[in-house]
Subunit: 356 residues, 2 copies
């Protein structure tokens, strides 16, 4: 198969701190419920899970935001919980509820019984989607693959769904740390295979979402979250189709630990909105690129307010390469798509003066 | 009225960075659901709100943890939402649900219609409880009064209850910042009167709980949360009964902004568990004392694990005055009270070597 040349490689270049003409931008959860066309496709699919497991529809929703906005990257439409689902935990979504598992992982025997994922076989629907999206993109922009971090995935597996206090997994951490390590090890090995399969299928960069690492102490974060992300980064294919495959690590509420995160081997560190991106650049900008970091709630504001916030973040980052603009977390479902367009256009328009 | 001499003033001394024999300790939410005697009193009261508004029963649950543990302070049993309730928002708790308001504050007209609290009149049940607790304590340990921060209280008033994304209040912040400022100003003025009445009634230190300041950007935190806490601190009675009344400010997930918080005029900065307390001391320990910062989930661990974590935090803080040991957030409801006892005793036993 011949690979079409990449027409817009700003995103990949910025991840590697190479010069760009304007700051590239994409939005976490850019394929999502704020778009009416997404809601229509999801209704057609029947459920969120059926949308994830149908490569044609997953490709369709991946491409939808690119038809509206001048985004510099596409991101595979999927869910971080496909991995534990493939490990046999039985993912389901109750009506109007968050994700749940039929078989939570609570004991040493539960962990022992878990298989390591063979992603090409167990998650073939994801790889089919990746291949299809790449074909449809036809080189327009790069495609991002992703996974949850082992810690984040494990919180759902052990709690049996979402959590506020993480009482069950923290109880396991305090009382049976070896059991939790065994679980994290199995998830990490599964994630390595999962991401490498995505890369082989055509993902041109990958992001590890550590949504819940920020609920840990500094010491526990290193031991139970960062360590496993480091293992994953070390196990990834880093060159494919003749190009480096950059890795982004994003720990929400990880701003206090940036130096440690930057040392995990990733090319780029994702930032939420609680840290000043100029301060973050001062701390780690010499070794990694930064992705972020506008509060998604700014998109509720009027266009002038959105542009002001984009200008502020660009000014705080300052001149030069190494910034991928993004929201600090996923776009909210009640945001007006026109405001997302204002945001994306403002990044390109207002960033030109910081480059070249 | 004659005031009985304070038998144990470690807590007040440590807040003011004065020498102590051992590190004082208390636990956020120490009067709470993890204690069977609390559950019995709450059942007797009928509901959580009836417990808050009954001074005899509020006094009883305030004192319960002190009968079990060698705590160095009592904290008034109440709720941060009594203030907006007194402003007419109509607080209620659905069965098994979090707090809700019958009349959320959404518009400029809603804000204009809100009264400033006259705490002696509108929250007399709280002042009755404070006076009763002081009498019952009889000088054993100091009594802490408290309030929510204006931002934190406002999140509940605007959202109409608890929230995950704070979409409604952030929309107000982005689109109608002047309306939000008017609301925060009214809440701040109410909180000043509320805390000053608590101090006049006998509270010997006060804590401002900024549970949700950490969901803001650095800039928005200063403008919409910290600014109003600073106004409150400046408006408080700081000397009473011939002693300084120390003020503690606690912003959960505020670790990135410690320098700004330490500059708000408070005597002590509360820390959650995501920051290393040694790093925090290096940053702000010359100007304020620190309170914290063990992950409440450590109390799920076996006694040896709890003692290890206490030892680690004591070692990280190091020698000398200016540390009040606490959890980094409220004690969880499923913790074994015996583990809380291990924690409190370990702080006293293991800290002696760092003093004197």
């Amino acid at each position: 198969m011949t690979v079409p040349p990449l027409k817009n490689d700003r995103f990949l270049r910025a991840l590697l701190r190479q010069p760009v003409d304007v700051t590239p931008v994409w939005m976490m959860r850019q394929a999502g419920r704020y778009l009416p066309e997404y809601r229509a496709t999801r209704a057609q699919a029947g459920s969120f899970l059926q949308l994830c497991t149908n490569p044609t529809l997953a490709c369709e929703v991946t491409l939808q935001p690119l038809r509206r906005f001048e985004l510099d990257a596409a991101i595979l439409f999927s869910d971080i919980l496909t991995v534990p689902d493939a490990m046999g935990c039985g993912l389901y979504f109750g009506e109007g509820e968050g994700p749940k598992f039929h078989k939570p992982v609570r004991t040493e025997a539960d962990v022992d019984a878990l298989p390591i994922v063979d992603a090409a076989r167990d998650l073939s629907y994801v790889m089919d989607a990746v291949r299809l999206i790449r074909r449809e993109l036809n080189g327009a922009v790069p495609l991002i693959g992703f996974s949850g971090s082992p810690w984040t995935i494990a919180t759902y597996m052990v709690e049996g769904g979402g959590s506020k206090e993480f009482a069950i997994i923290k109880r396991m951490m305090m009382s049976q740390p070896a059991v939790l390590h065994a679980l994290l090890d199995k998830v990490a090995r599964s994630v390595i295979d999962y991401l490498n399969c995505q890369i082989a299928a055509g993902a041109q960069a990958v992001q590890i979402f550590d949504t819940w690492g920020g609920v840990l102490t500094p010491h526990a974060y290193r031991e139970f979250s960062l360590q496993y992300m480091q293992t994953i980064v070390a196990g990834l294919i880093r060159e494919h189709e003749g190009r480096r495959v950059p890795v982004i690590v994003f720990t929400k509420n990880g701003g206090l630990w940036l130096e440690a995160i930057a040392g995990c081997g990733a090319d780029c560190v994702g930032l939420d909105w609680t840290i000043d991106i100029g301060a973050a650049r001062d701390r780690i900008g010499a070794t990694v690129s930064l992705q972020g970091n506008m509060d998604p709630a700014v998109l509720y504001g009027p266009p002038a307010r959105i542009r002001d916030e984009v200008a502020l973040i660009l000014a705080r980052f300052g001149r030069g390469a190494g910034h991928v603009f993004n929201l600090g977390h996923g776009i909210h479902q009640h945001v007006d798509p026109e405001h997302a367009k204002v945001f994306v256009d403002a990044v390109h328009e207002l960033s030109a003066r910081y480059h070249g």
